[in-house]
């Protein structure tokens, strides 16, 4: 099967943004864009769907506060309602102000850590992960757009040479 892609390499983020918009307008499918730093508005120009990570974080926070409440209700109120320094332990609400710092921290802890783990999983990042870098320069000062070829190699190459690319390569991908 023909798995050929074009690597169009740019050395300026403004030129890259223009190229992305042109490519989208010409209905070529952008596989991926590699940049050394976040380019503001690139996701919008590429037409990527917005992240749902914040929604995840909110749900994780809700889990965290539920966990903290159930834990302290069981330990302090249900299991062994001891009189500690005269604090009322007859019901959860009576002693709640003392529990709020923990409820708060647990909410933040769950929201933050589970969101980060979600991010790692969704982005497929882990310690011994093999880097998927198509060109070492993309971590330093070059921008690379990867576009798949469907029997239109010559048209695509000339198209990308006209978008201000400093280099246009055709690569056989496995």
């Amino acid at each position: 099967m023909n798995n050929r892609v074009i690597y169009a390499i740019y050395n300026d983020d403004d030129i890259l943004m223009d190229a992305v918009k042109k490519t989208r307008a010409a209905h070529h499918h952008i596989e991926e864009v590699f940049t050394p730093f976040p380019v503001h508005g690139l996701d919008k120009a590429m037409g990527l769907a917005p992240s749902r990570l914040a929604i995840c974080a909110f749900i994780y926070g809700c889990i965290g506060i539920t966990f903290a409440t159930l834990m302290m209700n069981f330990i302090m109120i249900q299991d062994w309602p001891q009189d500690i320094g005269g604090k009322p332990s007859f019901s959860y609400i009576q002693n709640m102000p003392a529990f709020v710092p923990i409820m708060f921290e647990m909410t933040v802890f769950f929201a933050a850590h589970l969101m980060v783990l979600t991010f790692y999983m969704r982005s497929r990042i882990w310690p011994f992960k093999e880097a998927e870098n198509p060109d070492v320069r993309t971590t330093d000062d070059h921008f690379l757009m990867e576009v798949s070829i469907n029997n239109n190699e010559e048209e695509l190459v000339s198209f990308f040479q006209n978008t201000g690319a400093v280099e246009v390569k055709v690569i056989e991908k496995n």
């Binding site: 914040a54 909110f58 005269g86 102000p97 003392a98 709020v100």
Partner: protein, 450 residues
């Protein structure tokens, strides 16, 4: 240029008229002497009578009441106690219209102070998003001189013993209360009123010169007036934070002169700061909907909504810190403050937390919601009402005790000051173009996008 819509003007006059009538009714219906109170109390059930005898607030020492209740007192003693109790209730009922007026007055005045503080911070921080809103903020702070004058008059009336809002102003009380007598070096009328005058004059001077320089900058050829505004804003913020703290002790905390809290100034600040920001958002949304703010887009509204959200949570943080520290240690002389509020003001006390924290937290946490006009207006109304109740909670328990009610005097006072606020603010907005011309950050602000 903005033109004051005649409908809004009529509305503001109606609010003021209704407010004045209600305030007048409040003063008219307050009891004049203890005989009226006696008939009033007799009309109520006897149970309510006994209940009000045992509650403790700043006016009378609770211990005295409880002791007599427990003892088998002689007939004459009981009669004297009965009369003392009637006097106490009389003072509470006579305070009601005054306290209602005071809460509404200080709320709207501090609200415009919150806007002024926000405006000064925007100047000093050289914010790139807000210059298109500067004229809106200046319009809202135009209420400050009016609010200050009315507030100052009320303070003077307190000093002239027209009411019993501040019990330490009563020499009789001070003579029999060593705790207050010890504070007389700070809590005495001349020093207190001079402090108030200095604070109000200082704030108003900043507002006047800042607005004036902003207009002068429009006509200038260089940035001299902008730099002047930067400097006076920085100086104002230093002055403000010192005076704000003292103001909160003088005008709010001294209503309960037996009680003190160290973070009270910050707590009061957070309350009116978030109200001020909310008011900026509401007025902006209104003007935008009428087509007067060409360059304001949803990103500006989004930024204001983020501030509403963030400062609401900051307020809650301080509310809880103050409450939890005192609840946890439970030191008798500090905890009475919260016992009064939880027992007598349960719904307003905890309702304020729901309105000022839970509601904004759940509504304004969403990025998309922060750009929707009706969400901003809804959240804004709840936040403003919540912070009015916050001020209500701070002032009412020490002045009217268990005789509180959100009735005609309270609502009428709010309506009056709301009408005055609307009238003054929207009149001021017609005086200057709504877009500053030569602000160094105005171009950035026009194209602000988040």
């Amino acid at each position: 240029m903005y033109t004051f819509s005649s409908k809004l003007k009529t509305l503001s006059f109606i609010l003021m008229a209704v407010g004045i009538l209600g305030i007048g009714f409040g003063f008219y219906s307050a009891p004049k002497d203890i005989h009226e109170v006696e008939t009033l109390l007799a009309a109520e059930s006897h149970g309510a009578h006994g209940e009000s005898a045992s509650h403790g607030d700043a006016h009378s020492s609770e211990g005295e009441h409880v002791q007599t209740a427990g003892h088998a007192a002689t007939e004459a003693d009981a009669a004297a106690k009965h009369e003392e109790h009637l006097t106490h209730v009389l003072h509470e009922l006579q305070n009601k219209p005054w306290a209602a007026l005071y809460v509404a007055c200080i709320f709207f005045m501090l609200l415009s102070m919150g806007v002024l503080a926000f405006y000064a911070i925007q100047q000093v921080a050289q914010a790139g998003w807000s210059p298109v809103l500067f004229r809106v903020m200046q319009g809202i702070t135009a209420y400050l001189p009016w609010g200050s004058v009315i507030f100052f008059i009320i303070l003077i009336l307190c000093g002239l013993h027209f009411n019993h809002l501040f019990i330490w102003l009563d020499p009789e009380v001070v003579a029999h209360d060593p705790l207050i007598a010890n504070k007389a070096g700070y809590l005495n009328f001349p020093f207190w009123i001079v402090r108030a005058a200095i604070f109000l004059i200082g704030w108003n001077l900043y507002r006047f010169y800042s607005a004036k320089n902003c207009l002068a900058q429009d006509e200038a050829n260089d940035d001299l007036f902008y730099k002047k505004n930067f400097n006076i804003s920085a100086m104002f913020l230093v002055f403000f934070i010192v005076t704000e703290s003292i103001m909160s002790w003088d005008w709010i905390m001294s209503i309960d002169p037996h009680w003190y809290s160290t973070l009270f100034g910050w707590y009061v600040f957070a309350s009116f700061f978030v109200s001020g920001i909310t008011m900026i958002a509401m007025v902006t949304v209104y003007l935008k909907s009428r087509g007067f703010l060409e360059y304001v887009n949803t990103s500006h509204i989004h930024d204001l909504a983020k501030f509403m959200f963030g400062i609401s949570i900051f307020w809650t943080y301080l509310w809880f810190s103050q409450f939890m520290l005192i609840w946890y240690a439970n030191i008798p002389e500090e905890i009475t403050y919260f016992i009064t509020r939880i027992q007598l003001y349960n719904l307003p006390f905890f309702g304020a937390v729901v309105m000022n924290f839970v509601f904004p937290l759940l509504i304004l946490v969403n990025t998309d919601f922060k750009r929707i006009t009706w969400v901003i207006v809804m959240a804004g109304v709840v936040i403003l009402a919540g912070h009015y109740i916050d001020f209500f909670n701070m002032i009412m328990p020490g002045t009217v005790g268990d005789k509180w009610f959100i009735g005609i005097p309270e609502i009428a006072s709010v309506l009056f000051f709301l009408g005055l606020f609307v009238f003054v603010v929207f009149t001021a907005l017609t005086k200057a173009p709504l877009l500053p011309k030569r602000n160094p950050y105005i171009e950035e602000s026009k194209h602000f996008h988040y």
